[in-house]
Symmetry: C2
Subunit: 191 residues, 2 copies
Amino acid sequence: MASENVSLALLHGSVLDRKGRVSVTSVANMDIHDVARSARTFGIRRFYIVTPLAKQQTLVRKIIGHWQEGYGAMHNPSRREAFSLVDLKGTLDEVIDDVACRSGKRPRMVVTGARLAGPLISPSALRDEFKSGDPHLLVFGTGWGLAEEVLARADIQMEPIRGMGEYNHLSVRSAVAIVLDRLWGRENCVQ
Amino acid sequence: MASENVSLALLHGSVLDRKGRVSVTSVANMDIHDVARSARTFGIRRFYIVTPLAKQQTLVRKIIGHWQEGYGAMHNPSRREAFSLVDLKGTLDEVIDDVACRSGKRPRMVVTGARLAGPLISPSALRDEFKSGDPHLLVFGTGWGLAEEVLARADIQMEPIRGMGEYNHLSVRSAVAIVLDRLWGRENCVQ
């Protein structure tokens, strides 16, 4: 299933605000926890929190430290296990460089979003892509989604999650969980 | 797909703590938001927050009011739409009574959990159950999952979510999102 060749980035810069302007969002503590736990569950290689703001980076470093080697790590071993995947970077380029450095090859970039249009790939087709063994980076945006400057760099756009109607306002935590389950949940494999 | 006959309850009483003791958890604000948004996305009829604690009920009522008719409702119409499904009850019995009152029939109770054993039903089999048109109630536990006293009352136990290994520590927010997507995500319908 090769999810070990797939990393995940959660962007807090180069994202849209509610009016569609390119902006920067704050890192939500619960995003780090939820996405780390989902990433660990589905065998993702590494989970990058990406924020350009120095103060936010300091805060995120503190949270990561607490759960990787501080009191939290002792207190809750399963959370420590999830946090072992978590890394912090300032920009998407730093993430790409880090993946390239770890895997010997630049990752192909897969973007996600509720309003993506244009050539879209289904989870099953993306699973086939991953079989190449090449590194891939799944990119999720906070706020109102990824800015055009990020989408323009994508190699692959993933099919948006659709529910029962037109409402498409899942939290990014929920969207990550659903995307990873669609890609690697065992239920999907046996159906 | 009949998700309109399915309601969802998130229990904060009759759940387990990390040592497996029956206990009560605090309501997390983000749980209300995330589960409401997922419930709205997948067409769930009603989402019940269940807590036996009077002080927690007061807090939850304040949050619900803010997003159903207060400043939050004006400020963020899509969040208001999600919160229109949210209700507050003190016990599981009150939830069952409310569903029975609204739909004219007592709901069949479907429990979820990472460690369920015994006769388990798959999402596709559960979708078939729902086709009867009978009301169903999906029950999720916070903390370390639902207590035996809740499981013993269940009509149906749902197959746990499994990822790539033995790690099974998703947040309840992520678990709800995945379960609803497995039941009603359009990707599942077309596969």
